[in-house]
Homo-oligomer: 236 residues x 2
Amino acid sequence: AIFSAAQAVLAPQDLAGQHLLVTAGPTREELDPVRYLSNYSSGKMGYAIARAARMRGADVVLVSGPTFLTPPQGVTLIPVVSAEQMRKTVLDALPKATAVVKSAAVADYRPASLSTQKLKKSDEDMTLVLEKNPDILAEVGAGKEGRVLVGFAAETQDLLKHAADKLKRKNLDLIVANDVTQAGAGFDVDTNIVKLLHADGHVEALPQLSKDEVAHQLLDRVVELLKQREAKTDQV
Amino acid sequence: AIFSAAQAVLAPQDLAGQHLLVTAGPTREELDPVRYLSNYSSGKMGYAIARAARMRGADVVLVSGPTFLTPPQGVTLIPVVSAEQMRKTVLDALPKATAVVKSAAVADYRPASLSTQKLKKSDEDMTLVLEKNPDILAEVGAGKEGRVLVGFAAETQDLLKHAADKLKRKNLDLIVANDVTQAGAGFDVDTNIVKLLHADGHVEALPQLSKDEVAHQLLDRVVELLKQREAKTDQV
């Protein structure tokens, strides 16, 4: 605790006055009271970003799916379970935010019908109909106004192609792309190997870093983008 | 640590010489490298049983699906992910066991086809075909020989009916039934409210107890059952 207090004091306060909205973790989509569909996101990357942003002086709201992580001190944690809950919470928190970092791994699909009773095993195989969840990132992108918007792309193939496509389609300023099949990257490990794709097309490949270091690198870019916004606003 | 060492010394050594095989936690069934199907089992009940059995002198193998719990000291933990892995591990460990307590919440179904690449979102809804997982408990029940076999039934309705049916169908000696919709019972809480159904038809309703206390109550019954077995074997 003493060490992190010292870190906080030593960190540049270059996000002071900014309101960061960070999402983290997986979502869980219930099939019935017992079973759910989820993904391997641990929330570590998003929590690292929230912690680093707080250290650098930002006011931070962290909307998090189910994780087993300790919430960073000084951060407003709003726990959610499903994509639908995450959407509602993010849209509620959005008006105040000056920058949004969406690192949550939101489930693309949810069961089309939710059973209120535990489904019983039958002899037959079972067909589960899934319907698409709301696309929160696209919704935030469409209504982003002056905000800086950062997304994530966790892929297993054609990483840069998928990430560049997502950046454009969702009106992002920056996308953090990582190949989750790489050792030392992705879910549930403490390091990450990412590429940063900017809206102007340039790509930065970062080396293997701790998730805390990736968070600070990312926030350096956010600070830059916020400065550019302010410069633009000043010109008007 | 000192407290639990004292507990271990004070506990009756009534399971000394016995080999307990305990399963715990959920299983995860992969859809692709990123997504999975699982359930809300925290593993707390199974870990409590493994810990209590070790305290009472048993040699304990704990086969556990993914949990965030600390393995009990002195217990041989074998981590698994899917039902298929749990089946293989349980069948491997079975020959040595004198009693088996299957508290894991094994997924009944798994995706019929596993994608090696992350599935991409399309505009359409998605149909997921699930196939039945192996019924490990029934398999252990069918080949149980002289072993004491304890199962669990986590239900949301018709608790006693479903539990009694499962007890009989799977050749169990005892089944621990709990209604997971009750406050203070079921997944991810530290207490449980259970009914113990015996093969001879009698039912004991226990009050709300800590999972450690439920574990000891359960092991009292296992000790009794093991004694009955030995008495029977002696008669032959």
